[in-house]
Every structure is written in structure tokens, then in C-alpha cells.
Subunit: 315 residues, 2 copies
């Protein structure tokens, strides 16, 4: 398939880098200020070098991407809340042009799910968004294959930054501020870590899961969310004396989305360590399926995008 | 899709039972001696009651199934080795009639993989076989979505009977013979448990995985296999003193298939308990994906069959 990639951060760049290995062609790669476009396939290495070197991706205007011949729009621009723009409009334009869309951007899927479904219903193109939940872990495709009706709940750890911080606090007996600084030094937490530590990032993912289970009806404002910023080191010590630890756990059902710190058994499945993520998918007929893996990262998330591309029907 | 189900054991009966919930119709259900056939959909409840009550499934001959109009042949007859008959011929007939095939029967996929691929290449129908590896756990679809080229190895616990026995031996300090008897009482081990405890069942699954990774080239005879029958209780005690335990672990790469008892960390991912299974899928770009869940059981395996049906293209 011919991919038009919007967004040249870690994910967009990794998708461009791996596309050839998965048998696809990159006809456009754009950030907010410039674009490399070539209907016969752009020079990916050249574009990536220029971007990483601080230069323009290419000589085209990002607007021109929509005039190019492509099969799949990869929406990998930064997640925005509320109206989820400009990502939502990008998706809308692609579907109105009867093209496929694969999202890594959580905004449109979390905040305007029913509108996306309506656009998809009127389009020859399909929307897929595995990369929005759990990075490399195949969560949404597993639910899709089980059929959403057969899944009763999804629970787990879907934010690696918060999980890393809690793991380190428990392991070293250090306080939150100290470990956050360490996480930022390592690149595990961003300069502005708010969405990771206040639970928003995890909540967006569980809102997306609830939308998939229930066929829509949820946005971020519907989630009950508590972050990890107020957990004292002493809470983890106390938990450990009882064979437990604390993790930022989310849960999505057809009725509800909740994210917050929870006590979990120290050696249990939910006590994943470091930046690892885990989901537990509760099913009607097959018990509980657990999937864990790397929940974030350029190449990791790109594999989810490219898995989705592989599952799209020909246009 | 219209399903013709061969095999009325736990898996075949569960597929028939759940088909309607997944939006499919059962036009035939057969065991080795009789068949219920109805182009408009059989009375599944009636057929299941008769079978469970010791009566014939229906008034037709199993041979007549191939004369029926169906979309997908579900091959759920008992796994056989070597020539994998009669399962292989069932698959052959369906593909030669340009019908799809979904297998729960491991024999043809483990022992005659390249022949199946050749039949599939000449057919309008496709073959899928998620149910042959790991029951409810979506192993093969995950590898398919990642693309087999991007997967370097698959490792894990894929036999619940052996895992249950080792779990109980470690937990209770009992010896193998004692726990095997307990497992048989519970229905976790069969009256003839050979294939489970000597590693053959696990080996068939890892042979299938190696065939998927390498595009063929493996049969059961190519696997290096060791079972659990010779493990003394003392070995587990010793292991425990070192924070480890023993599990029957298999590994498949493009070059090799091995199954045998291994020391693993007591609290590590591979030390699943009871009858639970786990696979670790090692990927080039996304690190290690772990999936665990129920590896066997009628409804559990049926969900894998029905997931496969859901991924088949229209004929």
C-alpha cells in the first residue's frame, strides 16, 4: 500500500523507516511545516536525515499531501484533546476521499468516536487504530478477533512512564519527585510529564477501549481519573510488607472507565516492571487473556501501525 | 459464513454451540459415524443433546458433508501423526472444492505443512489454524500481523497438563505419579496422558510455529523433545531453594524446535501456574510480546476457531 504519513515524531519517522520492510511505499511524509512528497515513493533515508538534522523534510507544503495519490493516511501527529484537531480533520479529509486511515493519534478516537464511525460508514476507506492503545501489544486486534461482544472488560497498565516511576519508587525507596527527575533524564518521562503522571494518557487509552467495547459513547470527560503524583514512598513500603505494590491501573467496561493507583500483588500479572505495559482481556468463553509488551516507542508503535495497514482491504 | 464441522468432541461441539453468537451458521456437524446436515442450518441444540446422550448426531453419513453447500470446513477431528489422516484428506477435499478450511487438528499443519501450502495456493479457499497453537491465546494471528519475517523466535509453555503437574509437584512436594493421578481425576490429564507428559503435544505446536516462521520445513521428527515423566520431586525442591522452578518449555526459531523441562525464575513470566499457557514472541522492532491465557478447553479453543472464521475473506 502507498502510505501518506502525517507526523514526523518518533512514531511517524519509524513508520517511514520500516514501511519498506513490511512491503509498503511511503509517498508522503509531513510535519507541521513541510513535506516530502513523491508518487513513486520518497527517499525515506534522506527525509529522515534532514528532519533529524533540523532541516525541512522536503520541499512541499503539508497541504499538498491530500492532493497526492495514496492508499492509507497514517495519522501520527500529536494527540490533542477536546476537538482533537487538527488530527480529526485529517482523518475526515482522507475518508471523504475514500482512502483508508490508520491512527497512532489517540485524540480523534477517544474524543469523537461516533463521528469517526459515521465518516467511516460513508467511505470506501476503513479506520484502524491499534497503535493508539498499548504500543506494540495487539490489544484491539485481539478484541476484534474475539468480537467485542464476547469481551466483558479490559484492565491493565497502559502508561509506561507512570509504571516506571512506581517501579523505581518501590525498588529504591525513593520519593516521587526524585524518581520523576530520573525518568526525565532517561527520556522515559517528557519535560512536561503531566499527561503521563496525572493519568490522562492512560485514561485516553481506556476510553478508546470502552468505545470499542460499547460501540461508542465515551470521551475523556467520562473517565474517572486519578494520577500518581500524590503517592508517598511510605505507601509503597507499607504495601510491600503485605506482599503488594502500587500500579496505575485502568479498567474499561461497556459502562465505565476508571484509572487510578491500585494495590496489586507484588508478583502478580499486573505488577509489570519498568516501562512495560500489560492488558488483561476478560472474555465470555475463553477466560482471561493477558498480553504484555512494550507500550511505547517509535519502532514499537510503528509495528502496530504497520500491522493495521496489513489488515486493510484493497481499495 | 456456513460452517461444516468435522469432529464432535469438546472443540467441535463448542464451535457448533457458539457459531450463532459469532454470526455464523452450522450446516453440518459430523463425527466418525454420523452427521447432522441441513443447508439452512442444523438444529445445533438437538444434535448436541443427541451426541452427549450417546445417540447419533443426525441421520446422514459423514461422507455427505462434502456434498453440502458450505463456506468453511472446520477440521476438529483428533490429531494424528505421520500422514495426519484422515484430517489431511478432509482439508484436501475442501480446498479442491475451493472452500475455506479452519483447523483445530494439529496433525496436517505440523506434519504436512508444505503440502497444505501447495493445496492452498491452487485453491480459492484459505487455510487458518489459530486453534492448533495455544487455545484461546492469539499466537498465530499476532505473528501474522507482525509479519513472520519480523518475528525471530517464539518460546513458552503450550501444554497445560504438563504445566499443571509441575505446578502441583512444586506446590505440594508430591511426586509425579501422585500428581498425574490427581490430574486424571480432575480431567486435566487424559486416561492416556502420553502425548501431554512426553512433550509430543507441545512439540507439535512448536513445530507448527517453526513452520509459520520459516514457511515450512518442519515436522514432528525434526523436534528435539524431552518430557516430564522423569522429574523427581527433589529437583523442584532444589530449584525452589534457588528461587526457580521447572516448566516444560518449548522454543521455535526458523532453524530449530526444542521442547524440554527447563529451570525458570519462580516469579518470572514463564512460570505460569496450573493449566495456563504463555507464549513469548520475540520481534525485531517491538521487543518481546507475552501472551498468556487458557491453552485448551472446548469453548476456549472454539473462540480461536471462530476468530479465524472472522478473518476469512468472502468466497
Amino acid at each position: 500500500m502507498r502510505l501518506a504519513i502525517l507526523g514526523a515524531g518518533d512514531v511517524g519517522r519509524s513508520v517511514a523507516d520500516l514501511a519498506d520492510e513490511y512491503g509498503h511505499e511511503v509517498v508522503a511524509l509531513a510535519d507541521s511545516t513541510s513535506a516530502g512528497i513523491d508518487p513513486d515513493g520518497i527517499d525515506v533515508d534522506g527525509a529522515l536525515e534532514r528532519k533529524v538534522g533540523g532541516d525541512a523534510l522536503g520541499s512541499s507544503d503539508p497541504e499538498d499531501v491530500f492532493e497526492t495519490a495514496y492508499d492509507v493516511l497514517v495519522e501520527a501527529t500529536p494527540t490533542t484533546l477536546g476537538d482533537a484537531e487538527p488530527g480529526f480533520s485529517h482523518v475526515e479529509r482522507a475518508l471523504e476521499a475514500d482512502r483508508h486511515v490508520v491512527l497512532a493519534n489517540k485524540g480523534p478516537v477517544a474524543e469523537r468516536y461516533e463521528e469517526l464511525q459515521a465518516l467511516e460508514a460513508d467511505s470506501a476507506g476503513s479506520i484502524r487504530f491499534e497503535a493508539t492503545v498499548g504500543g506494540a501489544i495487539p490489544v484491539l486486534s485481539t478484541i476484534e478477533d474475539e468480537t467485542p461482544q464476547a469481551v466483558t472488560a479490559v484492565r491493565g497498565v497502559l502508561n509506561g512512564t507512570a509504571n516506571f516511576i512506581l517501579t523505581r519508587m518501590a525498588a529504591e525507596g525513593l520519593d516521587y519527585e526524585h524518581v520523576l527527575a530520573e525518568a526525565q533524564d532517561l527520556g522515559v518521562a517528557e519535560a512536561d510529564p503531566t499527561f503521563d503522571v496525572d493519568g490522562t494518557d492512560a485514561a485516553l487509552k481506556f476510553v478508546i477501549l470502552a468505545n470499542v467495547l460499547a460501540g461508542g459513547g465515551f470521551a475523556l470527560e467520562d473517565a474517572t481519573v486519578e494520577g500518581i503524583q500524590s503517592i508517598p514512598g511510605s505507601a509503597l513500603d507499607l504495601a510491600s510488607e503485605d506482599g503488594r505494590t502500587i500500579r496505575l491501573i485502568g479498567e474499561a467496561t461497556r459502562e465505565d472507565v476508571r484509572v487510578g493507583p491500585r494495590l496489586v500483588p507484588e508478583n502478580g500479572a499486573l505488577a509489570v516492571t519498568g516501562t512495560r505495559n500489560i492488558v488483561q482481556i476478560e472474555t465470555r468463553h475463553a477466560g482471561s487473556l493477558h498480553s504484555s509488551g512494550r507500550g511505547a516507542g517509535g519502532p514499537e508503535t510503528a509495528t502496530a501501525v504497520l500491522s493495521d495497514v496489513g489488515r486493510l482491504p484493497p481499495l
